[in-house]
Symmetry: C2
Subunit: 216 residues, 2 copies
DNA sequence: AGGAACATACTACCACGTAGGTTTTTCTTC
DNA sequence: GAAGAAAAACCTACGTGGTAGTATGTTCCT
């Protein structure tokens, strides 16, 4: 039974189906993170899985649906990582922002194959070419706004509380997101010194940098 | 007379040849910045120029050479933009860093078609597949190190002078570069309110954010 | 027995780079 | 300055290989 991207939630899949679809998504994320969307073939993804592309087309209608599905999953995880600290209105804004950036950076490192090329608008544009992508892309755009709004909200509240400096909030948020999102360009999970402790250290440093860039 | 990427400097070209090769590079930068390396065909580049791909192959040996040539030119410009403020040892480190980031951000906005996908390691990896790319890639890597060393040097000197906080210098530099380089993801030269003054404002804000993230 | 899951073979199209041809420009000779 | 030759610049057609997606067949699971 095939599906478009992100249609997991609008059709109940049996656990076995879900496990298979997810296994395919994981392999696709790995394959795409190495060579990008256009230069990765469906056969490449099948090679990672040790099967043939017929299996993939059984669960996903097109290559674009596969890629969009990855980004959808990445956004779900990103919201799960950053949502909880974003809701900590009991904390002062600086601490709240610090924890958001910290969790965001950890998430990026822990799910690096999902957080790679799908971040690029160019890749998403390519993947969404073709028919029947409007609904999925609307959902993706909505989730992106929701995610970015978490940051905009905390920065606005920080400015209002005079904990953050009174600058262009959207630019500050973009700079913060830049410091985090650019990590995919230099962080590699296969580095010899990579470890949970090293990831915590990196996340803390990136969070410290971002918060200091914003505080009053 | 054909060339690989970056061979401009190892063979004297007549002004007419240089102008043509440069016109092709500009068109290629525009085309690649829209769809990325793999999804852009040589025919697409020729369409931007209003000619056919035979003309392009007259000056560039392969598609990869064309793309690497763009990145080479981008790095030259980046060094030209950031080098002068980096050399201002008469300024204190914070002001020096501020001017470097400011010029870097302006450069990225003013040359956005050259600063797009070529920034991504994945794209460079794809373009450098194929024969006879080692020398060019060595040159590119050398220029990248030279560029990043400008930032590392100013941050190290700032730490030594106690103007910057004593943290992981390489991480701080990566965070700074992240805030700037991610601009290609959200800055668009075709936005209605784009103007030289708006670019100056954005560059100043990004520079302020970066410096504050680093100062003691 | 029937449907799901997956493999195989196929179609249609696209793209890189080349070879050969044509046109334009440059150079040499008178 | 003109004419002719040579080289450069560019165009067209082609060969080869690759890829997305489909149709059909086979195997496995319910």
């Amino acid at each position: 039974m095939r599906q478009g991207a992100a249609s997991d939630s609008d059709r109940e899949l049996r656990p076995k189906q879900k496990a298979s679809a997810r296994e395919i998504l994981d392999a696709a994320a790995t394959a795409f993170s190495e060579r990008g969307y256009a230069a990765t073939s469906i056969d490449d993804v099948a090679d990672v899985l040790g099967c043939t592309k017929g299996r993939i087309y059984h669960y996903y209608r097109t290559k674009g649906d596969l890629f969009i599905g990855i980004h959808h999953q990445a956004l779900e995880w990103a919201l799960e990582a950053v949502g909880p600290p974003a809701e900590r209105v009991d904390l002062d804004p600086a601490e709240r922002l610090r924890q958001m950036v910290h969790q965001h950076a950890l998430h990026l490192m822990n799910r690096s194959s999902y957080m790679g090329p799908a971040q690029y608008q160019i890749e998403m544009n390519l993947a969404s070419e073709g028919r029947n992508k409007e609904a999925q892309m609307q959902k993706i755009l909505s989730m992106r706004r929701q995610f970015e709004d978490l940051y905009v909200t905390v920065v606005k509240e920080g400015v209002a509380a005079k904990a953050f400096r009174d600058a262009d909030v959207n630019l500050l948020v973009k700079a913060v997101l830049g410091a985090v999102n650019w990590m995919h360009a230099w962080f590699s999970p296969t580095e010899p010194k990579d470890s949970p402790a090293e990831r915590e250290r990196i996340a803390a440093e990136i969070a410290e940098f971002a918060v200091r860039g914003v505080v009053a």
